[in-house]
Symmetry: C2
Amino acid sequence: MSKTDLSYSLRLKLYTDEKFFGLGVATLLEHVQETRSLLQASKKISMAYTKALKILKKAEDNLGYKLLIRQTGGVSGGGSYLTQNAIKLLKLFRQFEADIESFADKKFEILSDKMNKLK
Amino acid sequence: MSKTDLSYSLRLKLYTDEKFFGLGVATLLEHVQETRSLLQASKKISMAYTKALKILKKAEDNLGYKLLIRQTGGVSGGGSYLTQNAIKLLKLFRQFEADIESFADKKFEILSDKMNKLK
């Protein structure tokens, strides 16, 4: 194993009694921001639309507020968009993740060096 | 959602081309240290013995060194024990994990505070 071969992965999830917010919901919300459509967003991450609805509902139930506003019809032809709380939560979660990843990257370099001395 | 309800989980895995070292192997090795038996160790984490053998082999193949010495019979009646490299690796991995967890704990407090203001 050469030094460059080694990498790590880090996964963060938010829990109450059950997992309710992690990479899945975060990515889904980001794609809704982009596409204005929950269906398109779920397709982009190869998630069944029914599952997308389910994980969003679970997140909303646990948080106690709505993440998504879904409009049907109207002048603009409908579409989905994020609530202000969803935008803020997403930003907080991604910042939390980025802070930890940046710290973990430094620690991983040290780990990786030390692991390469074990042979 | 009250502040105390919220928690997070963090999972770390080491990769080369495939995942080869994470919580599963680490816990397995710790139980081997305790029980001197891979069978007992796998039972403790409700893992099939064949799966335990498989994930250990994958870890050893990726690392390029042995993690476990399995002795059969002999005066002491056999048993499994960790190689020096396994002991060192385990310590390094748990330290890596502990460092990141301790940092993430602090960041999570901030996240949690900010999340509680979203209502």
